[in-house]
């Protein structure tokens, strides 16, 4: 989905002669085989049991459930690989960390899929459906934790401090994305009343922190970038995240963005393109009754309602305010990157992609 957020992505980040996509595909395919190999799991991941594992679960209670969520390519590892090269840290061991990034993308989609189910907005308890969803959710939970074996076994051949920084980064991103979903659900309960632009923008950054901030900072950690510069990178790519999201929101409202994702990714797509700032800036009052739900509103339906309304009537002032925020964010990104002096090639590539 990074190719949705970064315009002209393939042309600039995956030009002819670039092998990143192929490397990613090979890496993922290899890891999928390992994920389903009991011998590998015992040797490298879950270890020898005290008593006995039941590996029947792999075919019948895991792979079949998680497979649909592996059918979307995040392209986040591509940004990671570019950043590694840019920082002079392009080694085969560090590159394997792309598995952690990609599997984190899968679990984010699993959680969004779970959280946005209509069944949870209904009064009647549908225990059978809850059980189905919970099983999927926990298949996702396992796949999110699985790649940490790469750190435990020190496949990257890194020191303790680097190991700890990576653990912290990943935990931070889990917290940020979790916070953003919690806030979004909370706002949906009150129909986005009293949500101002600043609140919305920070939540937007939090919600997509796994797309830009995570891969770039991960690369920087491998490259041993000092803490003060890591924080600058977080600031810079926070600005870029906001820019990219607001741009996507504006384009979804204008109908110029029509992304194609697997059905199970529709909820994550709606998080990515949720037209929150155009809505806040529009001053439009919506009749929420049609998306009310019996207990709580259904967020994907709120998305559809907002979009339907704004695509027919997006007030010019609101549009202007959103674009101003975009420009401000991109300018802040560039300024911050200039001050760090890092990732010059990656920054230029980003500028080129957006034609700015």
């Amino acid at each position: 989905m990074l190719n949705i957020l970064i315009e002209n992505f393939e042309e600039n980040f995956l030009p002819p002669g670039n092998h990143d996509q192929q490397d990613m595909a090979t890496c993922l395919e290899q890891e999928w085989a390992r994920l389903n190999d009991p011998d590998y799991l015992e040797k490298m991941v879950i270890g020898t049991p005290l008593l006995q594992w039941d590996f029947r679960v792999l075919d019948q209670g895991f792979s079949d459930l998680i497979l649909p969520f592996t059918q979307s390519n995040s392209f986040i590892p591509v940004l990671f690989l570019h950043a590694l090269r840019d920082l002079g840290c392009d080694n085969a061991k560090a590159k394997q960390a792309m598995i952690i990034l990609e599997y984190a993308y899968y679990i984010a989609a699993v959680n969004d899929y779970f959280n946005f189910q209509q069944v949870f907005t209904q009064k009647e308890r549908n225990l059978k459906e809850y059980a189905r969803l919970t099983q999927i959710k926990y298949a996702g939970q396992y796949i999110a934790t699985y790649p940490y074996y790469l750190l435990i076994k020190n496949v990257f051949e890194i020191g303790d401090e680097t190991n700890n920084k990576i653990h912290k980064l990943l935990s931070d991103i889990i917290a940020a994305t979790g916070i953003s979903r919690g806030v979004m659900v909370k706002w949906s309960h009150r129909h986005f009343k009293d949500v101002n632009a600043d609140m919305y923008c920070q939540n937007a950054i939090n919600s997509l922190s796994n797309f830009f901030i995570c891969p770039v900072v991960l690369a920087a950690i491998f490259a041993d970038v000092p803490a003060v510069d890591l924080m600058s990178l977080k600031r810079a790519f926070s600005h870029l995240t906001l820019f990219a999201k607001l741009r996507a929101e504006r384009k979804i409202c204008s109908g110029t963005l029509k992304p194609d994702v697997p059905p199970v990714y529709m909820d994550s797509l709606k998080v990515l393109t949720f037209p929150g700032l155009p809505y806040i800036n529009s001053g439009v009052d919506l009749d929420w009754r049609e998306v009310a739900g019996e207990t709580t509103p259904h967020i994907p339906s709120m998305y559809d309602l907002i979009l339907k309304t704004l695509t027919t009537s997006l007030p010019a002032d609101g549009l202007k305010a959103t674009m101003a925020r975009e420009e401000q964010s991109f300018a802040a990104f560039l300024l911050e990157m200039e001050q760090t002096g890092l990732l010059k090639n990656t920054t230029d590539l980003i500028r080129k992609s957006y034609k700015l």
Binding site: L41, I46, G47, P49, L50, L51, Q52, D54, R56, V57, Q60, G61, F62, N111, F114, N115, F120, R125, Y130, A131, K137, Y138, Q141, Y142, A144, T145, Y146, Y148, D160, E161, N163, N164, H167, K168, S171, D172, I173, I174, A175, A176, G178, I179, R181, G182, V183, V185, K186, D198, C201, Q202, N203, I205, S209, I213, M231, K234, S238, L242, T295, T296
Partner: protein
């Protein structure tokens, strides 16, 4: 609770409760956000919404209190190796927050109605919010290690962080095993597989994880740390079997949950598995039908309970629990700690397996 253990409990409970009260934020501001997310706050955000969605559900569980056995066990292990619990104050709060956020997940997996004599988080806040809150709060609970609040060496921090990651993988694999058996109505789960699933899924906090962290922090010998992990696993088995028993027939008002939930969820507990594998065919068919129906009809659940009594399943599980309890005690006796702490750990093992009432 056995006498010496009760004395230890009473000596340390206030300190532990203060740690719990102080650990998890009761309000959110820029500093809290930056502390838990590592991200700079570029714009002022809706801190009230953050608190209510992420922190409040876990806080509600914390406020209802629990026996706080895990922090007590940590204090016991620290002292056994000559460490001062005061130096690791946030650890106790962290352990209890990990526990309370994780049981929130258990509750919505099981579609439970009550926890600690109050409605479960998903009943109050909805399933999505319970999911988001429990996962996020669980991660945030570990911040004392990720942020190195206790100023540990990189090597010690790495050891603990890698152990936490390993436990999460275990938990994940154990969880998918359990849900697979339940959702696919699997009736041929071996006892060893069930025990392994229980250990994988639960030992993170009951009791292997806390004992390991205490051992690492107290600089216990490596062979002792491995033993502490094993002791934790053995005590877990007894504790968990007691929990399965209590689900079927609560003996105390302290139980805090609705009886017979395992039958309603169709969960393949050891009680159920033993029945499925040993009852005559016609009774087995009745049992399978009841489990597959996911009923919460008390009369129908009673049929299962009567079968458990008829085939003396409680005797079987209690013998099994006693067996693991003895294994735990054997390992405790090998630890390089003073006799008084071995005795306290013996008493803890007995308490966890048999009574669980303070």
């Amino acid at each position: 609770m056995p006498d010496q253990l009760r004395d230890f409990y009473e000596q340390h409970i206030d300190f532990i409760k203060n740690s719990i009260a102080g650990y998890f934020p009761r309000m959110v501001d820029k500093d809290v956000f930056e502390d838990v997310s590592g991200l700079p706050e570029l714009y002022p955000q809706d801190t009230q919404a953050i608190y209510e969605s992420i922190f409040l559900p876990t806080q509600e569980y914390l406020n209802r209190g629990g026996k706080v056995l895990r922090p007590i066990l940590v204090a016991l292990c620290l002292k056994a190796y000559g460490a001062d619990p005061d130096e690791f104050e946030p650890l106790f709060g962290a352990i209890e927050v990990m526990e309370d956020s994780s049981i929130m997940m258990d509750d919505y997996i099981d579609n439970s109605l009550e926890r600690r004599n109050g409605p479960c988080a998903h009943e109050i806040h909805g399933y999505p919010m319970a999911n988001i809150s429990s996962c996020t709060a669980f991660s945030i609970a570990h911040k004392l290690f990720y942020n190195n609040t206790m100023q540990l060496s990189p090597a010690k921090t790495a050891r603990i962080l890698n152990a936490i990651a390993w436990e999460k993988i275990q938990m994940g694999f154990g969880q998918i095993m359990e849900l697979y058996w339940t959702e696919s109505n699997i009736n041929d789960v071996a006892v060893d597989q069930y025990m392994q699933e229980t250990i994988s899924r639960c030992a993170f906090l009951t009791f292997r994880g806390p004992m390991r962290y205490a051992g690492i922090l107290a600089d216990a010998p490596d062979e002792d740390i491995l033993r502490l992990e094993r002791i934790g696993e053995y005590m877990l088995v007894g504790y968990h079997l007691k929990g399965d028993d209590l689900d079927m027939s609560p003996t105390s008002e302290d139980w805090g949950k609705v009886a017979g939930e395992d039958i309603t969820t169709g969960r393949r507990t050891i009680l159920i598995n033993y029945l499925l594998q040993n009852a005559p065919e016609e009774k087995r068919k009745v049992l399978e039908k009841i489990l597959n129906s996911r009923t919460d009809d008390e009369q129908i659940k009673r049929i299962v309970y009567e079968m458990v009594l008829e085939y003396k399943i409680f005797d079987y599980t209690r013998k099994l629990a006693a067996n693991y309890n003895e294994k735990a005690k054997f390992e405790i006796d090998q630890l390089h700690i003073p006799a008084q702490y071995k005795e306290l750990l013996h008493q803890f093992a007995d308490f966890a397996t048999k009574k669980r009432t303070i």
